[in-house]
Symmetry: C2
Subunit: 323 residues, 2 copies
């Protein structure tokens, strides 16, 4: 079976491709034999079974080129992330909303009912929710990114209900520790405040210590994305949106863990300097969600934040995808 | 001040135009001096202050033609209703989603920050909610109409948050008694089972008697739409979506009221013959919503269903808009 991963050059997309190929994960009994990445950049996964199409995901011709008779699933991860979608409204609408729709239309035209995995985000939620946030609670996003993801969720659900695709929508927690450089997600600091001190580099934390975050490690979220793709759609029921498990950790607790793992000198490299623009977005996201149903369906959460730091250090040593 | 009403030839649009002109409702201290209807059909309101532009609301040229320097508000009521949007997916997407976006873009380009009233629907909700449904509960629509309205809500909120428009989203209850002929809303029966027997005509009720509906009379909902338009945006807070008040009435209670008002012979004209396609849509909608906040903001509900029937009979006598 052929699988398409949009955003296959990205942080999670590349890891998802690697993992799908490592596991050979069978979908409906069929093993994954090839993967196509669609991304502005080339997919870094060095494997004969990976084809890398570079270009704009909003381009229907590119999508048509990727789809084959053997395609069984599309994992849609390409996105303009939160702070960038806030800064450039048109770009966010085009990539996060229009391209999602174009992709869904292409899947609908495919002779098979394709599995369609959509990476949404806890950024769909607004402030003031009693926590942990229950499953029925609705999106009231305070960012254009969140609004665009929430519209994408509705599209995937309606296309699924009509039988155009077999959709699965995963609302991702904030993923830490992201290796490499800061990106244009409003939550980028959540990785930086751990990653930079571990590398002996000073870093500014733009939010207050009391802020609770809903976190997952890259390993765990990629395992959850694979699980969402392999699950029988019927197990998800009629409504295809899932809040993926995470752990609730305040910024101060993250820094405590940093100190436990790397000592007080590492922690001293972090300087708190609140930034109103970042805070307006990140503080509107809930710090904890109710996830009994997803846990019951076999989705996983990290054990604690120390384990997340240790997993990062392990990955940094072993993982060729880090850049 | 000039106000645009899309769907101005429709059931509610025409009544809204009439009421805005009757009241001369001042917005920000400025009286409404002219209204433009944009609709496929001509606006039936006979008043010099009404200009009727006929054409497709998805056409940006038509919208540009309607907008003037004196425009202060847009009331967006044009829509492809539920059963039709279910039968014709493309049409629903084009009118309910794309045209809403086109209209919002046109408003954004206007030099003033325009008030933007969007008629959404309780059809955004899905089944299985504990009732009355709390404000924070999210859309999980089981119809393409509901999905398109839910996306429209997100657009209006994000355009408001960014300051592109001053939006107000009203989720309308099912409106009864609608005069005239059945339309292509899945809830059309809710009017027919009262209207036809009152006219001595037999009618089929496609849902079971126990089904609770969330209802409002045309008078009340039009008063609420005017109220939503005139309210200071700040009173609504950051999130601009409101569940409009209604009353919870089962189909059997509706027929009991019919019998009280028009006698047993009227009731005997109603034959229950459940229709799975109608039921799948209508039974997924909640029969009651929590509306303390909107009531606190001055929105109204009807007193009971008998009053709704009496109001219909009154209107039928006096109202030149009935067709
Ligand atoms: N990492 C997180 O904390 C997090 C949290 C919630 C949700 N998500 C979602 O998960 C998905 C993957 O996130 P990530 O962290 O890997 O992000 P990323 O920025 O590393 O990857 C996104 C990829 O999308 C590509 N892309 C952007 N615009 C494109 C376009 N027009 N055409 C083709 N490709 C385009 C980028 O080149 C990039 O490789 C995204 O949908 C994101 O919104 C991530
Ligand atoms: N009546 C109800 O029970 C109810 C309930 C919930 C929500 N609503 C919403 O309230 C609004 C008004 O409803 P209504 O009952 O007056 O419906 P209606 O069908 O009577 O009016 C809708 C109007 O939109 C116009 N229209 C449709 N497509 C168009 C297009 N492409 N270009 C221009 N005009 C177009 C139609 O010609 C019609 O006059 C709608 O948005 C509807 O979804 C109504």
């Amino acid at each position: 079976m052929h699988v398409i991963v949009t955003g296959g050059a990205g942080f999670l997309g590349a890891r998802l491709i690697q993992r799908l190929l490592d596991e050979g994960a069978p979908i409906d009994g069929e093993r994954i034999t090839r993967v196509t990445s669609i991304d502005l950049a080339a997919c870094p996964v060095a494997d004969d079974r990976v084809e890398s199409l570079t270009g704009d995901i909003a381009d229907p011709a590119l999508i048509a080129k990727a789809l084959g008779d053997d395609t069984g699933a599309v994992c849609h991860l390409a996105a303009v992330v939160s702070a960038q979608a806030e800064a450039d409204f048109e770009l966010g609408m085009r990539v996060n909303l229009d391209a999602t729709r174009t992709l869904l239309e292409a899947c609908r035209a495919h002779p098979k009912r394709l599995r369609f995995l959509f990476a949404s985000s806890l950024a769909v939620f607004g402030p003031g929710l009693s926590q942990p946030v229950a499953e029925a609670i609705g999106p009231q996003p305070r960012s254009s990114y969140g609004a665009q993801k929430a519209m994408g969720e509705l599209l995937v659900n309606d296309y699924s209900r009509r039988g155009f695709v077999d959709g699965r929508v995963c609302r991702l927690p904030t993923i830490v520790v992201r290796p490499g450089k800061p990106n244009r997600a409003a939550s980028s600091f959540a990785s930086s405040i751990i990653r930079e001190p571990l590398a002996g580099v000073e870093v500014i934390c733009p939010v207050v210590g009391e802020l609770p975050l809903w976190l997952s490690s890259p390993r765990t979220v990629v395992a959850n994305l694979v699980h969402a793709l392999l699950l029988d759609g019927a197990a998800l029921g009629d409504w295809r949106t899932l809040n993926l498990p995470g752990i609730t950790v305040t910024v101060t607790q993250m820094l405590d863990a940093l100190e436990r793992v790397a000592g007080p000198s590492a922690r001293q490299l972090v300087r708190v300097e609140p930034d109103a623009a970042i805070d307006a977005i990140v503080a509107s996201w809930p710090g904890g969600l109710e996830v009994e149903r997803p846990l019951g369906l076999g989705f996983q959460a990290d054990s604690d934040f120390d384990a997340i730091i240790h997993a990062y250090l392990d990955d940094e040593r072993g993982d060729e995808l880090d850049n």
